[in-house]
């Protein structure tokens, strides 16, 4: 039996960063909003300070079948439950650079965005004021124009000072890492106490996760957020010209239809394409919004370049923020390592607060050690360890894609399958960054330096924006080219990945899209 619930103005699929931001903006604009989240209810009280318990925040929905030489790591990178992956994100919020928006035009590589930095700049400023970012705009000599940060930068603790001296010895520059983490009480949210639990979720609201920022605003303006609601299909009118709502499976397994004037997909870079493809109908045999055949394509995932070291000093590596303390973007020029065949931008995030265990913990940096050697390493490294990670631009490749598997979930919806192979030029950039990182750590005085294997972080693409409906899924506001009241939000819109963390840009795009939707509501709605 299919239950039908009261029609709303907008139904949003996914309660992560993008969905929560859209819910806040649209409800503030007077719209009746329903947010459907596949995962469970989450509150601040669920954000347990434990490397083991933190795993509950990661994806726990239907399996994603992963292939390629650098699989996307969907469970680790995606979230599950109210707040989505933003609940366990580290709050590293740099801006994209102007050249990131015009890569095809400037370098004949990758794709162009359908908007420029200047189009997004006011929304970066708006979001940083609303959510709060700590940083030092003057010290970030690479930073594009924009309003100064509203909070003083994160402190440079011992690990940060040690690594900074390595950069400086090589003539490189460092600045405080721009973090959406409070260095003072900000808009009623507490200041951080630098205990390194970001990955487990920040229950005091010092880190700008959706439970602390957008979801309270959405709730205050009447938005309804429903957990354990797994959307399985987007509904349209008979001609397939307009979206009419979604069908979801509720907490007790019942099918429910939610009708809405506008449907917004904010279920991240894998589940959004899955839903579009799984909603194929007679008017849209290739899937919704897929007349270009682009849905699912250009899936991207930053290759992470991890550098580790041991120092004679007590590094106090357990203190600070998980994202790090300092930033270096000297390698942001996409041609920096051209001679090696590399292409693209990268950014170092250095002096990350670490825990003893888990995938990003001290112990996993040396997977070769076991037995008493492992105990000895842990006893030593806990006092003398340091780390930094480079975000490596992942060049967009059409064949890196989300598609539907021939396997289905319990309700008959095909599972998502992904292919991701790192582009050769991105691979070379990853290698070049690792070599640079080794030099930095040696220059800083490390007694031992080693690097980690390539791992992916930050899922992007799959529903890319573009000017041309022939080769993109959405326009610059996330509106699908084919169906005017079907909107996509989140990093899936990115046509290129840039060399910085995506969440700040996701929120700026969501703010810009929300403003557009509110101003053009009547023209979109059937």
């Amino acid at each position: 039996m299919n239950t039908r619930i009261e029609k709303v103005d907008a139904v949003i699929v996914g309660a992560g960063a993008a969905g929560s931001a859209m819910a806040a903006k649209l409800s503030m604009g007077g719209k009746r909003v329903l947010v459907l989240e596949a995962g469970p209810e989450r509150g601040m009280h669920n954000l347990v300070s434990s490397s083991i318990w933190a795993r509950r925040l990661k994806w726990g929905g239907e399996p994603v079948i992963e292939q390629g030489n650098n699989p996307i790591g969907h469970v680790f990178n995606a979230g599950f439950g109210i707040g989505g992956s933003a609940l366990h994100h580290y709050g590293v919020w740099p801006r994209l650079h102007p050249e990131d928006f015009n890569m095809r035009s400037l370098y004949d590589r990758g794709l162009d965005w359908p908007l420029d930095y200047e189009d997004l700049r006011p929304y970066y400023d708006q979001v940083q004021t609303e959510s709060g970012i700590a940083g030092d705009a003057e010290q970030e000599k690479w930073r594009p124009p924009g309003a100064p940060y509203p909070m003083a930068p994160v402190p440079r603790l011992t690990q940060g000072a040690i690594i900074a001296r390595g950069f400086e010895a090589l003539g490189m520059h460092t600045a405080p890492l721009p973090l959406a983490v409070n260095t003072r009480e900000y808009k009623g949210r507490a200041a951080c106490i630098w205990d390194g639990w970001c990955d487990a979720g920040c229950p005091i609201g010092a880190l700008a996760n959706p439970l602390a920022t957008d979801l309270p605003v959405a709730a205050a303006n009447g938005a309804t957020v429903t957990a354990n609601a797994m959307v399985r299909r987007i509904l349209t009118d008979a001609k397939g010209e307009y979206a009419t709502g979604v069908e979801f499976i509720g907490a007790s397994g019942e099918a429910v239809t939610a009708m809405a004037d506008v449907v917004i997909l904010a279920a991240f870079a894998v589940q959004n394409p899955r839903l579009l493809l799984a909603s194929a109908s007679e008017p849209h045999p290739q899937g919704l919004a897929n007349s270009s055949g682009t849905v699912g394509k250009f899936l991207m995932n930053h290759p992470a370049a991890a550098v580790f070291g041991l120092f004679d000093e007590d590094t106090q590596c357990h203190l600070g923020a998980t994202g790090g303390q300092i930033v270096n973007q000297d390698g942001y020029d996409k041609m920096t390592h051209k001679a090696s065949g590399a292409f693209g931008s990268y950014q170092w995030m250095a002096a990350q607060a670490v825990k003893p265990t888990d995938l990003l913990g001290i112990s996993t940096s040396r997977p070769d050690l076991f037995g008493n050697d492992l105990h000895a390493f842990m006893q030593n490294a806990i006092r003398h360890f340091a780390s930094m990670t480079a975000v490596i631009e992942d060049l967009p490749v059409a064949d890196n894609a989300v598609s539907l598997s021939d396997q289905h979930d319990a309700y008959g919806t095909p599972l998502a399958q992904t292919v991701h192979n790192t582009h050769p030029a991105s691979q070379k950039l990853w290698q070049a960054a690792l070599e640079e990182g080794r030099r930095v750590f040696h220059a800083a005085g490390a007694t031992e330096v080693w690097t980690g294997p390539q791992a992916g972080m930050h899922l992007m693409g799959g529903t890319i924006m573009g000017d041309d409906p022939e080769d993109s899924v959405c326009n610059e506001f996330g509106q699908t080219h084919d169906i005017p009241n079907l909107i996509v939000a989140g990093p899936g819109l990115f046509p290129t990945s840039a060399g910085v963390n995506p969440t700040f840009s996701v929120l700026a795009l969501a703010a810009r899209s929300s403003e557009y939707l509110l101003a053009n509501w009547n023209s979109m709605v059937h």
């Binding site: 509150g43 954000l47 795993r55 399996p63 106490i193 309270p216």
Partner: protein, 189 residues
Amino acid sequence: MTPRLSRRAFVRHSGVGLLSFCVAGCRLEMSPAEAHRRGIPFQVLSEDEVTTLEAYGETLLPGSAKAGLAHFIDHQLGAPAVDQMLIIKYLGVDPPFASFYSSGLGNLDAAAKARHKSPFALLSADQRIALTGQLAQANPDGWDGPPAPFLYFVLRNDALDVVYGTQAGVESLGLPYMAHIEPPSRWGD
């Protein structure tokens, strides 16, 4: 919405992470280490699997058997997929994970028998260390379970979880745990 917590609004539970075990029809809460000490029956793992698992765990990280490695894994294997906290969930293996552990431990024993005519748990310490070092690098002949280096990686991390991933484990390294919210008194609810 859940009200915001004030700064360091600590929830002081018992703190060390207790598991909920079924004993003679009753649910009892105890730590993995206590469950190990009391010999609480296993729900998913077989007796042979537990023996092999604890022997391999002791080789990977001495002290892990006493810290309750087998009870931790057994408890998690019985939990719903959405509540899983084993590190394997990150590593491209779809739940349920019982077959991974069963196949991996079975192959580990088979490899020990092929090389030394004895199950892994009965090998000498030197034999265990040598075989573990080899399995960390490549599958031995005849291995048909999950890749041996992958099994090594997963079980090594499981052992690390129970030894250094808990509040007591972190503090054993001389670090303050500094929890905002300590792990609840039960792991699997």
